[in-house]
């Protein structure tokens, strides 16, 4: 298992280095391009969950009806909901599996960026064991990009702020407006907590990783737009769009 993991990591580190060699020795650009490629390659894993979420969003009025109708009988309420999901051909728990499958890939990518940005002797030894001989001449990677040293945190906090904003937008788009006040309150607090947490962590991380977060979020926003439109970010605009389509 450990060997398989190392192999995955090695492949990613060398892919990053290869991109670095063809993208004018710009590691920020390499991270950005590789992030886009990884997000596109993992699309088959993430898409079913996002589609399922969209259908669930469309079923909200019917779910609400079931909730009201069986408010006092929770067991029946669950049965009716499951029946509805079955009718529409969705499995509400299916969303988790692709996300979990995607997790090791994202973790390996994340670790490969850290590995490639080696700036201490021990990190360099670890990198030396992963790099293909034909790419060895690229080490150490040029870590300067604009005002950033990609191996160190962004001193200006511009990237942490971008991480907060893009995480918030992506989450807002992905979260359907809930009619249940308790669920709505929880999702609202999540929409604030998660981006702030990411922003806070980014402040102490290598800025190369912040580049990865921002690009990954931007790709996520684009994908989300094609699936759910603006979703929870601009629900009014989506409603108007839906109404105009119906009118036609």
């Amino acid at each position: 298992m450990a060997q398989l993991w190392n192999l995955l990591l090695q492949g990613m580190v060398n892919s990053l280095l290869f991109l670095y060699s063809v993208l004018a020795h710009n590691f920020a650009l390499s991270i950005a391009v590789f992030t886009i490629l990884v997000r596109l390659l993992t699309l088959p894993l993430t898409l079913p969950a996002q589609r399922s979420a969209k259908i669930q969003q469309e079923l909200q009025p019917e779910i609400e009806k079931i909730r009201k109708k069986w408010a006092k009988d929770k067991e029946r309420q669950t049965q009716e909901m499951m029946k509805l999901y079955k009718e529409k051909g969705i499995n509400p728990t299916m969303g988790c599996l692709p996300m979990l499958l995607q997790l090791p890939i994202m973790l390996a990518f994340y670790q490969s960026i850290v590995k490639a940005l080696a700036n201490t002797p021990l990190q360099m030894i670890s990198l030396g064991k992963s790099v293909a001989p034909s790419l060895s001449h690229l080490v150490p990677l040029g870590s300067r990009f604009l005002w950033l040293d990609l191996g160190y945190p962004d001193p200006t906090f511009v990237l942490p702020i971008l991480v907060v904003v893009t995480t918030w937008i992506q989450q807002k788009m992905a979260t359907p407006p809930s009619t249940d006040p308790q669920a709505a309150a929880m999702s609202q607090s999540m929409q604030l907590t998660m981006p702030l947490m990411f922003g806070f962590i980014t402040m102490s991380l290598a800025s190369g990783l912040a580049v990865y977060f921002v690009v990954s979020n931007l790709v996520g926003i684009v994908i989300q737009y094609f699936i759910t439109g603006w979703g929870g970010l601009l629900p009014q605009r989506d409603k108007e769009k839906g109404a105009s389509k119906k009118g036609k």
């Binding site: 929770k74 309420q77 669950t78 909901m81 509400p92 988790c96 997790l103 973790l107 994340y110 670790q111 850290v114 940005l117 700036n119 201490t120 002797p121 021990l122 990190q123 360099m124 030894i125 030396g128 064991k129 001989p133 060895s136 001449h137 080490v139 150490p140 191996g151 160190y152 945190p153 249940d180 308790q182 669920a183 929880m186 999540m190 907590t193 998660m194 947490m197 990411f198 962590i201 102490s204 991380l205 290598a206 990783l209």
Partner: protein, 352 residues
């Protein structure tokens, strides 16, 4: 049912994300790479956040630096000269300490981690930094005499010989500088970053690089005499004894090469990367490896005579003095071994 399921799911995701991110903090303080020097019966070891002076006879500690304050971690090998101990730190400072008491005499800030050990020649100390520069400082005061900027981090100890200073940089180059003013006399470009401290023997400069090669250059002109290809990065400082160059590689091997032609005489395979430069005494070659072993090899044939197993990897070059081999493993533990047979004389710290 959905309401109940949402809470734990969110907590699980938050937990996973925090665990992943905190596990990848590159800005976290790095682990040390101990440095070891023996001078006048004292073992100076810089490991973790401490520099210590130990009695070479018995391992008793004479002093440690710093006291309560937080400094380090230390990667650099200390240099000792004229009653002063010079040691670079990951905090970017070069500390000059009193060799007898360990008290700080002066400090020189470079703003970026100092990985390379300093070199001392006459009244000047030469120190290289990850700020790409090498500095010549007055040994007594720490005042700057000159500085020279390379194109990348400098992790190798500068080599001072005669009126020249040789500086290996991660910009792939070896620079030959005038010792008086830091003026560049020549430069040689290797095929990869150079972190191997160069060695000078007769009129030839030997070093390794991240292009997996060992190079031999004419010391006067920087012209390449020969190169030898290994299967891993060459980090170790070559050692030249008589007409043989001994050098370790990250391909887990130590090589004996003919100093004139670069032809391989023998190789010895360990179980891990050989990052430390070997040491030699009385016909034995001492090779430290990532596999936690110190090997004593017959320098002529490469045959294993004896070996010693430490608790952790050994990246620090062994030092031989007065019939004793001193090693420091990655856990900062110092071992003094009988050079002839590997018997343990003492270890510091004593208690496990």
């Amino acid at each position: 049912m959905r309401k109940i399921a949402t809470g734990p799911k969110v907590i699980l995701w938050l937990f996973i994300i925090v665990a992943l991110l905190t596990g990848c903090r590159s800005a976290a303080p790095p682990t040390s790479w101990p440095g070891l020097t023996v001078a006048k019966g004292i073992v100076y070891v810089a490991a973790g956040a401490k520099v210590r002076a130990l009695d070479a006879e018995n391992g008793n500690q004479n002093w440690e630096f710093p006291g309560e304050e937080k400094k380090g971690p230390f990667y650099a090998t200390p240099a000792v000269e004229e009653g002063l101990v010079f040691v670079g730190s990951n905090d970017g400072n070069l500390y000059a300490l009193d060799a007898v008491t360990g008290n700080q005499r002066w400090v020189f800030a470079t703003e970026k981690p100092i990985i390379a050990g300093p070199a001392v020649a006459g009244d000047t100390v030469y120190v290289a930094s990850s700020n790409h520069k090498v500095y010549a400082l007055e040994a007594v005061t720490g005042n700057t005499r000159w500085e020279f900027a390379t194109g990348n981090w400098v992790w190798a100890t500068p080599l001072v010989a005669g009126n020249r200073v040789y500086v290996a940089s991660m910009d792939h180059k070896i620079y030959c500088l005038d010792v008086e003013n830091g003026q560049e006399l020549w430069r040689f470009e290797a095929g990869g970053a150079v972190v191997s401290t160069p060695t000078l023997a007769r009129d030839t400069l030997y070093f390794g690089a991240f292009d997996n090669k060992v190079y031999a250059l004419d010391m006067a002109t920087g012209t390449k005499k020969w190169e030898f290809q290994t299967d891993g990065w060459v980090w170790s400082q070559p050692l030249v004894v008589n007409d043989t160059v001994y050098v370790g590689s990250m391909d887990k091997k130590v090589y004996a090469l003919d100093a004139i032609s670069g032809q391989k005489q023998w190789e010895f395979v360990t179980e891990g990367a050989v990052l430390a430069g070997p040491a030699f005494a009385e016909g034995l070659l001492y090779v430290a490896s990532e596999d936690k072993q110190l090997y004593a090899l017959d320098a002529a044939t490469g045959q294993k005579r004896w070996w010693f197993t430490a608790k952790t990897s050994i990246f620090t070059p062994p030092v031989v003095a007065d019939g004793v081999v001193f090693i420091c493993s990655q856990d900062g533990r110092v071992h003094a071994l009988e050079a002839g047979n590997g018997d343990l004389l003492w270890a510091f710290p004593r208690a496990e």
